[in-house]
Symmetry: C2
Subunit: 435 residues, 2 copies
């Protein structure tokens, strides 16, 4: 009950700050409809000063790779191009249809043998994040401070790691680094198992009708095709619209200057984003459909953050732990940690977007940073938690939020992990098998 | 005929410099028996001064990843441990056998989920190479010189790349970098096709009896096992000896201080090395068994080196192209480029080691560097080619070797590629398919 009021309060604060509706936000900045493809925005730069006498000395993060190519060669690139080329051959494409064919074909060529790879936009995002970490917390990245960097075994994450490390090295050449990308760390860097996969599938199935409600391809088909009989006979118009929207929302990952959003109405972008937002919620967040259990897929990751902090906080020298992975880990981690309103629980999926908008949580290069502060005389270590470099409230008591006593935060998360994992014997077993 | 005499001369020079036999070298430094697992040695540091007025301005390399774990979980780690554990359970291991079990079991545990991964030893090798590149050619790595780094998609290569880049950045924080590890570059970074695979298989089969001649497990089995009947019934002694030697020769990739070479006699190490040396020769070098064609597997790589140089040599600013890959590419490339005596051709495999010793060519972190020099007034660009940082002779006329006129070198290699590829229609076709 206490947490319910806490949550309610946080929501009120959040809603009063972000007074705009999701629709208003998307209509104002169509790139937000990109959802998990949204290019990392410049953070506000707002920093609450720490309590007097406190200075940062350890930073721990989990960051998603930067902007990337789409992953699925066939579905994301080849299939829509093939469909449009066939239509062009049959001479049923309008001028707009031909334009869309040219753009999608260019993208498909550009993407050849680069599926899922980090783009130059993605590299710059991580350079920027590293630069701001250095500027915001110079006391951490000083002298020969040691940076331990870990990546999943996926190349776009490894190169994101390289980008941050090189940027930090440029700013302070004395820094020392260890770096790794190993199967050995995957049990916490990108955990998965059958329980969570099955839950996601089940939730997807349960919300299938709702998800279809947001896909209205009729107008777009009329814009692209001259002959509606051809569309009727040869085109899976829902699939085509979704594939084109997929490419449209990832255009911001490239420096091409090409655009596909303009072939959609803003309302269509908003509707398709809502569909996507629901999908991420029922797959990764604390949805009641899975009794709030889904975020526990990142139990190992949160435990690693806690344990590594406990080790690093005892060091005299300042240091940092940088982890590079995926939005499919970062989002449930943010929910598990209940950052801001990430942990929101609702059955009302149609109105989910009133509170829970994933584009706030997991754009490309999204990151959760825990910044630790110490005091020369006061033994209490404080922590501030950032999501995409914005200070976050968490449901832990504090008279100096966004700063929290680390012992309170640690206790809150450890208690939550202990309680949560009791309901997930499958996870416990698998973790035991792995370690 | 001209090349034959040239080659003969080079061989004489080489033999007079390296007057020691392979046996003497290995008996003196048992780690050389590691072959492709040999840890990168400290280079001699000998540098011939360039002709007057010439200064380096571009460096192009292909480097193998640094020291690594063995790749094959089952064959390299689990199988020998399983065999020894079963023998221990049957109480047939001697004291030495038990010691070997303890060591192999430790290594297997250490390697868990790290198969094929770069080790800290490997990281240091690339840091050292980068540091020496910087120190030896400060004119190249100055100001905001651009470094283009490319890796195969294998993680140990990507992290080797990270190691060199970070080291260079430490030495000159102004350097600018691009870095990539993409399927897109694999057609030249690690080419393979059916033609070369089939040739290797054929040559392996043709030399099977010769290869077996070098495996004598009888003594080792007596040292390890108390009961020869057990060995007779349960142990594939040739396989076991080879597996243990595999682990022994890779011990130098780790900082453990553990050793397995001491359970082999020096003569056994030498014999097993000879077997391995022959295997690499018939799989990657200019063996007459494949009409000297095998090195052409790196035709795309050599062409990339030539083409990239042609682009970079026109730049006003100095720059470097760093490539990170595998010994299975570097060795045929060294043969294709006829560095020193790499291109040696012989049918006499039993005496191959008198001239051709692969440990000279492809230790862990082995690398081929082309260093380009220019003159303010003389338009001739010169090149010096290094194998593992040692200056190499190539069969191109020059009155200032190890410096060569780039136009002569380029013409020699382009002519060779053109002629060689005519005999390899399969390669031409596949390259055309890929690009």
């Amino acid at each position: 009950m206490k947490y319910f009021y806490g949550l309610l309060m946080l929501l009120c604060i959040t809603l009063s700050i972000h007074a705009q509706t999701a629709q208003e936000e998307i209509f104002e900045n169509i790139n937000l409809a990109g959802g998990n493809y949204y290019a990392y925005p410049t953070p506000s730069g707002k920093h609450t000063a720490p309590p007097k006498g406190y200075a940062p000395f350890y930073l721990s993060h989990y960051a998603r790779h930067g902007s990337r190519f789409l992953i699925n060669e066939e579905k994301a690139y080849n299939e829509p191009v093939r469909v449009l080329k066939a239509a062009d051959k049959a001479d049923v494409l309008t001028g707009a249809g031909k334009q869309i064919l040219i753009i999608t074909d260019s993208m498909a060529n550009m993407a050849r043998k680069r599926y899922g790879e980090l783009t130059p936009v993605g590299v710059r995002q991580h350079q920027g994040i590293a630069e701001r970490m250095y500027q915001d917390y110079p006391q951490i990245f000083r002298k020969k401070a040691h940076i331990d960097a870990r990546s999943t075994i996926i190349i776009r994450c490894i190169l994101s790691m390289t980008s941050q490390c090189l940027q930090l090295k440029e700013l302070n050449p004395q820094l020392t680094f260890s770096y790794d990308a190993s199967e050995h760390d995957m049990y916490y860097m990108n955990y998965s198992d059958d329980f969570f996969s099955a839950e996601r599938k089940k939730n997807d199935k349960a919300t299938k009708d709702l998800q279809r409600k947001f896909v209205h391809p009729e107008r777009l088909m009329k814009v692209m095709f001259k002959d509606m009989n051809y569309v009727e006979e040869h085109i899976d118009s829902e699939n085509l619209m979704i594939a084109l929207f997929e490419m449209a929302r990832n255009m911001q990952s490239h420096d091409t200057g090409l655009d596909l959003f303009s072939f959609f109405t803003k309302q269509e972008c908003y509707d398709l984003w809502k569909r996507d937002n629901i999908r991420w919620y029922i797959r990764s967040a604390a949805t009641p459909l899975s009794d709030g259990q889904l975020p526990f897929v990142e139990a190992n990751l949160l435990e690693n953050i806690l344990n590594t902090a406990d080790t690093c906080l005892t060091k005299k020298e300042s240091s940092a732990t940088l982890r590079f992975g995926h939005e499919s880990c970062l989002l449930p981690l943010a929910c598990l940690m209940e950052l801001g309103n990430c942990g929101y629980q609702t059955d009302d999926l149609e109105n989910l977007h009133e509170v829970w908008r994933a584009y706030k949580f997991f754009p490309m290069a999204s990151n959760i940073q825990l910044v630790f502060y110490r005091h020369k005389k006061n033994p209490d270590i404080l922590v501030k938690i950032l999501l995409n470099e914005e200070e976050q409230m968490i449901p832990v008591e504090s008279d100096m939020a966004p700063y929290y006593r680390w012992k309170d935060v640690e206790q809150y998360y450890r208690t939550k992990l202990d309680a949560g994992l009791k309901h997930l014997p499958a996870v416990e077993k698998m973790v035991a098998d792995i370690i």
